[in-house]
Point group: C2
Chain length 410, copies 2
């Protein structure tokens, strides 16, 4: 039997890589004073329909549960966030800076960098309408990637502004009910044949193409980049008015993060969605909001592509996996003494291993090495003296038991 298509088993090595990613996500979010929360992996299907329309259901792992409820494995976190914040609005002072690390699901054809599940870091700021929040959020996104060792030569944050395009459409007297379709057509520019985009845009094709090709002017985006310059992060961003993002609910600054080589899908994306919480809560709570999500699958591929980033990860993982002490039991008569010592060492926080059954001494030293033990401590003929070997330097010495004055090495 195998795992389901598009689902991963995390054997120890892959699990260590996953945890390495989680640890950096969590650490940098906390440097930015973001607070962790989490929602359930299963939600009412209605929650996703309400946000994205009935078509979303085609891409969901959805089903009817034994209580006749329509439910779905979550494809994203934002609807849950809106639900939770609407329900608990009064309990929290604004602005909220919240992050979450969890698994998400979608039923779709498998492709490179596209599984049926992945983990995401979600970071959101709620209750702050000003541009300072957009700058703080994008700075966080950049610093998360910097924490892995990526530099400005490795990735770029493409920044745009939905308002730029809604202002544009308003100016051209386009009725509001056509905006979504036109924005989606603009979003696809460069990714589908020009004629197809032109057809969708109709008489707007010429001015849109001109704007996309000349770059368009946006005072807000200028201020935004200036804000990142104060943080010393301007080199990581590039204004790209062609970024619109497919999702209809964005209302302001939007951004997507790509590898500079342009080989991969977006590693992260997000933006401002000031109307969504009101929409999802039927107007009960209205809060300006913005956020981004970063997925572990594309990020993992990117890590593998940049040698020093990958080496940094493998080194950190190897270090993290190491145990402190391997207890070598050379004489079975000493096993009880050894076990007593092992318990004392573990109680004081040492990571300790030993052979569960009588084992040749050479094999025990091999196990000590494979476990990356700092010290091997041998219980044998010399007892109550212990033979100790520093597994890194090879130095050997003897020491009287109990070695209770040892303090945690890490």
């Amino acid at each position: 039997m195998q795992s389901l298509p598009g689902f991963r088993d995390f054997l120890p090595e892959e699990c260590a890589r996953r945890n390495y990613i989680f640890a950096r996500w969590r650490e940098v979010a906390r440097r930015y004073s973001f607070v962790e929360w989490e929602g359930p992996p299963l939600e009412a299907t209605e929650l996703y329909k309400k946000k994205s329309g009935a078509e979303i259901v085609d891409q969901l792992f959805n089903f009817t549960d034994k209580g006749e409820r329509e439910v779905a494995l979550r494809p994203e976190l934002t609807p849950t966030l809106a639900r939770v914040v609407a329900a608990h609005d009064r309990e929290f002072k604004k602005p909220l800076k919240w992050f979450s690390i969890g698994q998400f699901f979608r039923y779709e054809k498998q492709q490179r960098g596209r599984l049926r599940e992945h983990f995401q870091l979600n970071c959101d700021i709620l209750g702050e309408a000003g541009l300072a929040a957009d700058i703080e959020l994008v700075a966080l996104c950049i610093d998360v990637l910097r924490a892995f060792g990526f530099g400005e030569k490795d990735f770029v944050v493409r920044i745009s502004d939905r308002e730029f395009w809604t202002d544009f459409l308003r100016e051209k007297d386009v009725p509001v009910d056509r905006w979504d379709g036109l924005l989606q057509a603009i979003d696809k520019f460069g990714r589908e044949p020009r004629e197809k985009t032109a057809e969708k845009l109709g008489k707007l094709a010429d001015p849109v193409f001109t704007t996309l090709e000349t770059g368009g002017k946006s005072e807000k985006l200028g201020k935004f980049v200036d804000g990142l310059r104060v943080f010393g992060l301007a080199d990581f961003v590039s204004v790209d008015i062609g970024i619109v993002r497919g999702l209809a609910y964005y209302t302001g600054i939007v951004f997507e993060v790509f590898d500079r080589a342009g080989k991969s899908r977006a590693v992260a994306g997000g933006g401002r969605y000031d109307n969504l919480i009101a929409q999802l809560s039927d107007g009960a709570v209205s809060l300006p909001a913005l956020g981004f999500a970063m997925g572990d699958v594309v990020l993992g591929e990117l890590i593998q592509e940049i040698p020093h980033v990958c080496q940094g990860m493998e080194k950190a993982i190897a270090n993290d996996r190491k145990i402190d002490i391997y207890i070598v039991i050379a004489k079975e008569e000493r096993r009880a003494d050894a076990l007593k010592q092992i318990q004392q060492l573990r109680d004081r926080g040492f990571h300790v291993d030993y052979p569960l059954t009588p084992t040749k001494v050479a094999r025990q030293f091999q196990a000590a090495e494979e476990a990356g033990a700092s010290l091997a401590v041998l219980y044998g003929d010399e007892w109550p003296q212990l033979k100790i070997k520093n597994m890194t330097t090879g130095a050997r010495w003897q020491q009287h038991t109990p070695a209770l004055h040892w303090t945690k090495l890490a």
Copy 2:
């Protein structure tokens, strides 16, 4: 809209409690040299049927996916473990000591301490048939609970041996196909009316009741307790031959952990399942194995009931939530200088917050206090001097900017 019945939202406080539990689980497992892994939350329904029979489906969140596959949200980890180990058997030296922290699901009536999802720590040892592995596993289980501050007055590990009962049934010439039913009847002793158990046991009722009431003699269980005595952990266990555990696949030592007050459901349970991997892999791989699972819901209730354990958690959480520095911007003209400093501090690992928009100084100090900041650093008229307040002691001083010689306080 609400979360589905039996599913939890983890708002920041609850998420911090969950993470506190996860951190202790992970730390103690690693002290014991257990290595982390994880499986997918969705599996083929067949995997669970194969282990537990078709009746299990009634308790699953199962459905047919869009590819006509019968799938289920995982109710437990052991079948996934067997699947993964059978597929990768040759890649790993035995014994394996593996642990995992993940979410599990079951569709059943909601009751106290019983939701439709919970998180579990799973710890398993594979490839070791000897009693030393059983002792190591139970020692780990005890030390996990000790790491929360629970003592031998708070919980007890009830130990039994399936083999004691299978030997008993063999001695009485009971045909093997009746064992499962009889073992389940014995498991229910004391939890259902005596007459009902007697009826199920038939002519075995008298000898079984006598054995249960006199305790039964087991050399293996004696050795097992002696083994825990070497670790100094014998006071945490109590032999209770009445523990059989409902699941059919256990083959040796089994155990369940309860609060001493006897008010709650089992906080953990496990045992040896030497035949399961062969059964689930259709005989492809045969490995002796044993493991336990501990759930976060019952554990969370137990933590709440023991005051010093609960205080320990709340104190650790409050400490963990604290940020290092709150930057007070008293003059908006100084915002850019402050932001530059904030970026440098965060880059060096400090947890830093500041007001995103112009805010009264008193409110900023209040925010600093609420965030548990160690220092408040004020950018104002005194610039390039900074006014600094130690938020714990109340001490105040001035210091020239940039304060780049600061090192991480934590």
